[in-house]
Symmetry: C2
Subunit: 116 residues, 2 copies
């Protein structure tokens, strides 16, 4: 049990679209991730998706709307909603999902999630 | 579905130790809260407790240790661990707990949680 400094964790990697697990909260993984560019549209049928922008700005694209999400803003994508985050410049995000959820929504194409 | 600006939500109330629900994430409530002073020691037997300091600084006191937690730092209190947050100066926190968890751990003394 100790405080987890998010900026320090984010300094430990440079890759994009590569969530790193920093803690567990009940059956969820708490992750930090760097976004830059476009992520593919995907869907999580069984879980909401929690995003908090820590630095920079992203856009959450849904099928018929899109929302800029800036530092200090939370965006929750409800389960079953097709979405893709994108970011013109690098954007740092706190992400919470239940353990084992593939980041693309598809286990066959999902990246493994390292723990730091 | 829209971005939730945490600072704007925090501007909507002045009370301390009074979590306000700003969103749902699966079976959890996402809250913002202002800490100042000492909260009583308490325990959540069935859930972890997620704290992210947004502004200011708090101290998480456990039974035999205490940890300063500063802006940009997460502290997760595992289920079954007696704890109390305290803050000398006002501290703004993002808090996540399963729906219906009493903030004191005790339903008879817990404050209701308004939604903003």
């Amino acid at each position: 049990m100790k405080p987890i400094n998010l900026a320090r964790k984010l300094n430990q990697f440079n890759s994009h679209w590569d969530p790193h697990v920093i803690a567990d909260y009940n059956e969820n993984e708490v992750m930090v991730v760097k976004f830059q560019g476009d992520f593919p549209f995907h869907i999580h049928e069984d879980t909401d998706d929690f995003f908090l922008v820590l630095a920079g700005e992203m856009v959450m694209e849904l099928q018929s709307e899109s929302h800029p999400v800036r530092a200090g803003e939370v965006f929750i994508v409800p389960k079953g909603v097709t979405h893709r985050p994108r970011a013109e410049a690098e954007c740092h995000v706190l992400l919470i999902e239940p353990k084992g959820v593939p980041n693309t929504g598809d286990p066959t194409t999902a990246a493994p999630k390292p723990r730091i």
